[in-house]
């Protein structure tokens, strides 16, 4: 479904951050990406979602065969790309509910589907919020404003649950979550799993992978994919850190 080939990217006019990434994520698969701080995980996520501060200098990305890099961020969203932000953004004065309805109706309109009216949407939203064990009062608060770190992450998953993406890229959604919240978030992701949907999980912690069992694990270091493997790779990393990877990668 998602094919990344020889992808190079940099901050516009800056140093190269991604130095040739290739990755293939099939339908229904969950892939985890791990790697040291600053290795380029968020950059990769940002490039996939169309963040304009990054410039792709070589390589290709296709989603269901279509050139993803040619699309605007909102067009990618319409095709089902969802990015759970490592640092969710605050939008003062706009309620969570209003924001999400605007988002959902924007993609529905773009897909030629009918828009949901306020009542229909509220029913849907309440149901999803319940699934995420989120207090309904969050729906009427401004987007992420004054939310705790963990609440912001949970809110990202609520948005994902409402938008039902085909490709969800979750950038450290597990960081800052307490054990209970981690389980709720994992349940939210697992509920979305289907043969039609794929997930990329960026994480530093093995414990998330206890709850969301990935098909593949990749290690990103210095802007390159230095290792890929099955579940056992996560355990190895947990035990040994990234030192041995760097050695493997020949000091990438």
């Amino acid at each position: 479904m998602l094919e990344i080939n020889g992808l190079h990217a940099r901050v516009a006019q800056g140093a190269e951050i991604l130095k040739g990434i290739s990755l293939s994520v099939g339908k229904g698969e969950v892939h985890a990406i791990m790697g040291p701080n600053g290795s380029g995980k968020s950059t990769l996520a940002g490039v996939l979602a169309g963040r304009e501060r990054f410039e792709v200098t070589a390589g290709s990305v296709t989603l269901d065969g279509a050139d993803l890099l040619a699309l605007t961020p909102e067009e990618r969203a319409v095709r089902g790309v969802f990015l759970g932000f490592q640092y969710p953004v605050e939008i003062p004065g706009i309620t969570n509910a209003y924001f999400l309805r605007t988002a959902l109706n924007s993609v529905r309109r773009a897909r030629g589907q009918s828009e949901l009216d306020a009542m229909e949407f509220l029913v849907l939203l309440k149901q999803k919020a319940k699934l995420m064990e989120m207090d309904p009062s969050f729906l009427n608060r401004s987007v992420n404003e004054g939310f705790s770190g963990g609440e912001k992450k949970r809110n990202e998953i609520l948005q994902m649950a409402v938008l039902e993406p085909r490709l969800a890229i979750l950038d450290e959604t597990d960081s800052g979550l307490d054990i209970d919240a981690l389980k709720v978030v994992a349940a939210g992701v697992n509920a979305l799993r289907s043969p039609e949907r794929s997930v990329i999980l960026v994480t530093h912690y093995q414990r998330l992978l206890d709850h969301i069992v990935p098909d593949r694990i990749h290690v990103l270091a210095g802007g390159r994919m230095v290792k890929s493997g099955g579940r056992e790779l996560a355990l190895e990393l947990e035990a040994q850190g990234y030192g041995w990877i760097d050695a493997h990668a020949g000091g990438a």
Binding site: G50, E74, F85, V89, I91, P92, I94, T102, Q159
Partner: protein, 483 residues
């Protein structure tokens, strides 16, 4: 900001003005020029009593001694006051239309185009409308229904004819005819406007609304609004404004006076969308307006809400004089300066009585080459024990060529006063925009969404229908403006 954002920004901030049509109608207007004869002509035309003519003439003579103020942060060529026509009216068979049936159908069509219901049966439930076309009021709806409650809502000219004692008692008591250059000019040549009187203890059951429309070219519009809420009365009043697109600048110098007696409440909302000029700054309305309210009695309450999206230059400071003990003054403002617009606006809160409170919330949005200035005065007099003021002035910048300026002045002569002022300046961040777009919200809608959020605390003060209209207007004047 990326190149793409920049392109979207300029495309959208240069969006066309949607109300720029001209109504083809037979006009009766004075040739350009201003003199005592012109003042007399206007007064005679309106069949005014001697005292009002005298008032006008004194205003005119005082005006001659004044010079145009230029302390505002606005650049414009000198106005030639002899080149302006001081009266224009749709030609009517008789003195004025007695009912809607007598109103020129072309005029009714104009208001239809503007989305303003003049036909009573088609009118939005609960809104009584007075429509002022160029210099005269053409129709006031729901008059009968309001009269049953003793509420007077009519054109200013009619009020002079039918309720001269009320007009005489209150005219110029809040904004003296000597107040400033434009107020003096208005006092000399004002042609029409709206008058509202709500008797003791009556709550006006519907929104009262006036739509101002400039149509004729080469004319100035000088309307005068006077609203009096007697003891314990309540009224909510809305005004909206549009004008055709013309290459010339047109002068609009209105005066609005509000009087709230003890326990009375007046809520005055404006959605100002005069033609702002084109993207290069050609044409547009000079909106030089004096608005002031007097809280005359104990626990009186006056609230101004304004959404200023139009005009080439806006110069207005809706103010409240808090004379009654425990009276309350509020000012909620959204002002947009896009393209080459210049907005210099704010408020004055003058605390005179004890335990008086005032709130100021100002949201300035600058885009394109727009310049937005907040200018405010909070004054606490010697006897105003326990006066409280809270001011919040926020500026939002879009693009790199615009500007935001804040000049808050605080003068306190009573040590028990608590005056707080907060100010912020921000830009729509790339992070916010990307966040919205990642969720599927197209760029221009994302900008509108973020701006609406920024203006939220002001919009929530507007009556429902107007809040929706204001949001749309904001979107039209700004869509896609990014910082």
């Amino acid at each position: 900001m990326s190149a793409e954002d920049n392109k979207a920004l300029s495309e959208l901030t240069e969006k066309e003005y949607g109300y720029g049509f001209v109504t083809d109608i037979e006009q009766e207007s004075l040739p350009p020029g201003l003199s005592e004869d012109v003042v007399r002509w206007i007064s005679r035309k309106k069949g005014e009593p001697e005292w009002l003519l005298e008032w006008r003439l004194q205003s005119y003579r005082h005006w001659l001694t004044l010079t145009e103020p230029h302390w505002a942060r606005a650049n414009y060529p000198a106005i030639d006051y002899q080149a302006i026509s001081y009266f224009a009216a749709p030609k009517a068979k008789t003195d004025g239309p007695k009912s809607l049936d007598e109103v020129d159908p072309e005029l009714l069509k104009t208001y239809e185009k503007l989305g303003i219901p003049l036909q009573e049966r088609a009118a939005l439930a609960g809104i009584a409308v007075d429509a002022v076309f160029d210099s005269v009021s053409v129709a006031t709806t729901y008059k009968g229904k309001l009269a049953e409650l003793g509420i007077i809502f009519c054109s200013f000219s009619e009020a002079v004819r039918e309720h001269p004692e009320l007009v005489r008692r209150y005219l110029g008591t809040v904004v003296p005819r000597t107040d400033n250059f434009y107020a003096a000019l208005n006092s000399a040549v004002f042609s029409d406007g709206s008058f509202v009187y709500v008797p003791k203890g009556v709550r006006c059951p519907m929104e009262l609304s006036t739509y101002f429309r400039i149509n004729a070219s080469g004319t100035g519009q000088f309307e005068r609004t006077l609203i009096v809420a007697d003891e314990g009365a309540q009224v909510s009043y809305l005004e909206g404004c549009t004008a055709p697109k013309r290459d010339e600048n047109q002068l609009h110098a209105a005066v609005v006076e509000l009087v709230a007696m003890a326990e009375a409440k007046i809520k005055y909302s404006t959605v100002q969308n005069w033609y702002p000029g084109d993207k290069d700054g050609r044409g547009g309305i000079f909106n030089f307006v004096t608005k002031r309210g007097l809280c005359a009695g104990r626990r009186a309450h006056i609230s101004w809400t304004q959404v200023e999206t139009g005009s080439a230059i806006t110069w207005k400071y809706p103010s409240v004089v808090l004379k009654g003990d425990e009276s309350v003054g509020e000012f909620y403002s959204v002002a947009v300066a896009a393209n080459c617009q210049q907005a210099d606006t704010g408020t004055k809160m003058v605390h005179i009585g004890r335990n008086t409170r005032s709130t100021i919330v100002s949201k300035g949005i600058s885009a394109g080459r727009g310049q937005n200035t907040y200018r405010g005065l909070v004054k606490v007099g010697r006897k105003a024990d326990n006066a409280r003021n809270h001011s919040q002035c926020d500026s939002l910048l879009m693009g790199s060529k615009c500007g935001a300026h804040t000049f808050p002045v605080i003068e306190v002569s009573n040590t028990s006063a608590v005056v707080e002022h907060e100010a912020t300046t921000s830009r729509i961040s790339e992070d916010q925009l990307f966040y919205c777009r990642q969720r599927g919200i197209p760029q221009e809608e994302a900008v509108a969404l973020i701006v609406n959020g920024f203006c939220k605390s002001v919009f929530k003060e507007l009556p429902m229908e107007f809040a929706v209209e204001a949001q749309k207007l904001l979107q039209v004047s700004l869509e896609g403006s990014v910082g």
